[in-house]
């Protein structure tokens, strides 16, 4: 009898311990906004990204002044993008914690709309005179699978190569660098490594911890410069076994096996993104960085101001693999403000979104956060055009830019791209092995009918 009782206790203990695991993450703090007079706004804030917080704080006071009795509750989530998505998804899963207004990455819109987390805004938008000011790409970005609009764009972005002219000079490289192929980029990085010690020659995001930055600023900047693509928009199928995919991973392999990239502990750090823009680039620790157009925003003013950036940093488009037409490539994304499906008063939530994206606020955000403006009245405003000398360069990339595949599965597939990249970066898989793992995971996500072998 003693033995059975003991086994019983043992089993119960085992179960309890494992349950703590099963249940982890299912309860994530803070109340939602069932209260119709409170609008809860959830957005991201980090050491290098405070501009949205500024704009929303301003919009909060404007909205509350115009709507007495209403309260806007700002709930910044202080984490890097990757944890922000997880946190947001968990908040959205329960009606009690679902926010009323959500800062939403454009690649999550279709997925979250399909999951029923977001409310369609068509009725509200049709009555909003400012909506006509938004350009077509911005309108596209908010579309769900059902053709309804689920978010209003805050701005878009492009990506390119930043390079430190001082370090280039030390290495004997031209300060008006014009790489034409991937090999040109690698060659410059090798020269830096040989000539300038203690500097990371080339930063490219390559870890699961860096999240979407790995997919978009890293892998896709390469992939979309090859002859292949991730997703065939004609046949609406995902591609497997493409040469471009394994070649892109091969680029990572060259960078990390030759020691051209950041050290492993830095490369795998979840705060790498913030570190790159706030310390590593300003301190001259990185010679070349593939990064987004928003970087100069924080160098212009605020805690991370770095007035010398204009003289120090050069910007050049990311070349295609072998220089094939159109010669350079870029990726565009951007974020939106959406209204949660469980918002008690959707009109009020939308009104807050409209306040936050008024011309004045959109101009403030567009300039300070270094966005490519999507409101026509902002894009043509002299205050916007004259604010930041990098706007002209990054806007010029719009003709060669790409958007991520707009399907609800993209976010899951993107996570698997990150897994593939990290396995190559850490040397635990060859590009061919990592690509095969990705293909297998891809088929698991979208089903065998939705993939096709690359031609």
């Amino acid at each position: 009898m003693q033995r059975t009782r003991f086994a019983g206790i043992a089993a119960a203990a085992a179960v309890t311990l494992s349950l703590t695991l099963a249940g982890c993450g299912s309860s994530s703090g803070s109340d939602g906004g069932d209260d119709a007079t409170t609008i809860s706004v959830v957005y991201q804030k980090t050491a290098s990204f405070t501009q949205l917080d500024d704009v929303l704080t301003k919009a909060k006071s404007e909205y509350e002044a115009a709507n007495p009795g209403m309260t806007v509750e700002l709930k910044p989530v202080e984490s890097e993008a990757d944890q922000y998505f997880t946190k947001l998804a968990l908040m959205n899963k329960s009606e009690d914690t679902a926010p009323d207004v959500i800062y939403e990455d454009s690649f999550q819109v279709r997925s979250d709309a399909a999951a029923g987390y977001l409310a369609p805004l068509d009725d509200q938008l049709s009555g909003w005179s400012d909506w006509s000011q938004f350009d077509d790409t911005a309108k596209q970005a908010g579309l769900g699978d059902d053709g309804k609009t689920y978010g209003v764009s805050l701005g878009t972005d492009t990506r390119a190569l930043y390079y430190n002219k001082t370090l280039f000079q030390q290495a004997g490289l031209p300060t008006d660098w014009q790489p034409k192929t991937w090999d040109d980029v690698l060659a410059a990085a090798r020269t830096i490594k040989a000539q300038v010690p203690d500097v990371t020659p080339l930063n490219i995001y390559g870890s699961k911890a860096s999240g979407e930055a790995t997919s978009m600023q890293g892998f896709e900047m390469l992939m979309y410069g090859t002859d292949d693509e991730l997703y065939d928009t004609q046949s609406q199928k995902w591609e497997t076994g493409s040469k471009g995919f394994s070649d892109s991973l091969g680029f990572y392999q060259s960078v990390f096996s030759e020691g051209l990239g950041p050290s492993q502990d830095l490369a795998l750090d979840s705060t790498l993104g913030s570190q790159v823009s706030t310390t590593l680039i300003p301190e001259g620790k990185i010679a070349i960085a593939i990064d987004g157009s928003w970087l100069p925003g924080q160098w212009l003013s605020g805690d991370n101001a770095w007035p010398e950036w204009e003289q120090t940093m050069g910007m050049v488009p990311m070349p295609t693999q072998t220089g094939q037409a159109p010669g350079s490539t870029s990726m565009s994304g951007g974020w939106l403000l959406s209204v949660g499906q469980h918002a008690a008063d959707k009109q009020a939530a939308f009104d807050f979104v409209a306040t936050a994206l008024s011309k004045e606020n959109a101009l403030k955000y567009g300039t300070e956060a270094s966005q490519i403006a999507v409101r026509k009245d902002v894009a043509t405003d002299p205050a916007y055009l004259g604010y930041n000398p990098s706007f002209e360069f990054f806007s010029s990339l719009v003709p060669v830019t790409h958007f991520r595949p707009a399907t609800p599965d993209y976010s899951q597939i993107s996570s698997n791209i990150q897994v593939a990249v990290e396995s190559v970066v850490t040397g635990s898989a060859t590009p061919a092995e990592a690509a095969a793992t990705y293909d297998e995971a891809l088929e698991g996500i979208v089903g065998p009918d939705n993939v096709q072998a690359a031609s």
């Binding site: 033995r3 043992a10 085992a14 997925s111 609800p408």
Partner: protein, 314 residues
């Protein structure tokens, strides 16, 4: 053997029951005995069996964190499990879990805990107290704090490397080059105190006369320890082994903070894998299946210990 019955009487040497064995009366008696247990059983049902059942069900669906499958998950039978059992990542994680549990809990915490307990029993009181306080300090720390402290210790620019450099040794990237070693050492550091406390209590119960008698018969200190002390505290060892194993099996925070399961999947144990699949790759159903498997492994361990280290009453 004296077995305690629910009503507190002992069954040993009980006179044959002369009461009439009327089935109705018997049933009423059983019901009467079970009545006080119903609140506990109900609570267990709601808070233990319920979630387990729900987790089991969840593991049979393709529920996702976002997208269509978040709104309408489909029942996919045992697909998640077949996928799991054919996945290299799963077996890799299972192996690392075994390694982690085996080295840090079964060997590390138990052996070191026993060693410290013996030392404490023989050391002068002040030394024993100081050692005890230091070791228990690691244990009372909340897991997240301990994890951050250990991250700061093992990180490339951390305390360990600073110490190594100070004495002229080459620093290393512990969390990158030897992630499993780092988390195993971390868990030993954190968990040893528990074993020490358990063994301390057990050793205090060993009557000194037996040891003295053996000493007179010519047994060496080692012989006395292995032939007398250890067998006498066997039950404490088995209980402790089971508790530390199960606790280590579920360790998530420590590993997640120190290495996030990386680099790559080189320190991804089953709980970390479950988290990544569920919340990073957004496949709640698949992640839950891993959690269920972890649960089964825990139960298996428990049964194994109870069988192997039979804690029969002496």
């Amino acid at each position: 053997m004296a077995t305690l019955e629910l009503d507190g009487s002992t069954s040993q040497g009980r006179v044959p029951d002369t009461r009439p064995r009327g089935t109705a009366k018997e049933a009423a008696r059983t019901a009467g005995r079970l009545l006080p247990l119903t609140p506990a059983i109900a609570l267990m049902g709601v808070f233990l069996a319920g979630p387990i059942g729900y987790a089991l069900y969840g593991s049979l669906t393709n529920a996702a964190l976002s997208g269509y499958r978040a709104a309408n998950p489909e029942f996919v039978g045992i697909d998640n499990y077949t996928r799991l059992l054919t996945s290299g990542d799963f077996w890799h994680a299972a192996w690392l879990t075994l390694l982690f549990v085996g080295l840090s809990a079964v060997v590390g915490q138990n052996v070191l805990g026993m060693f410290l307990a013996v030392v404490q029993n023989h050391a002068p009181k002040p030394v024993a107290n100081v050692v005890g306080a230091l070791v228990v300090g690691a244990w009372v720390m909340p897991e997240i704090v301990a994890a951050f402290a250990l991250y700061a210790f093992f990180a490339s620019d951390g305390t360990l490397n600073a110490g190594l450099e100070a004495v002229g040794l080459a620093p290393a990237s512990w969390l990158i080059d030897t992630p499993m070693l780092a988390v195993i050492l971390a868990n030993v550091w954190r968990g040893t105190a528990f074993s020490m406390l358990v063994f301390n209590a057990a050793l205090a119960e060993v009557p000194p006369e037996i040891g003295e008698a053996a000493q007179i018969d010519g047994a060496t200190a080692l012989q006395r320890f292995f032939r007398i002390t250890l067998p006498m505290v066997r039950r404490a060892i088995s209980t402790n082994m089971m508790l530390t194993t199960l606790q280590t099996l579920g360790t998530f925070t420590l590993i997640f903070v120190m290495t996030s399961g990386g680099p790559g999947n080189r320190s991804t144990t089953l709980p970390v894998l479950a988290f990544q699949e569920a919340f990073k790759l957004a496949q709640i159903g698949y992640g839950t299946a891993i959690a269920v498997v972890t649960l089964a492994v825990g139960a298996l361990f428990a049964v194994l210990y109870v069988r192997v280290l039979k804690p029969e009453v002496d």
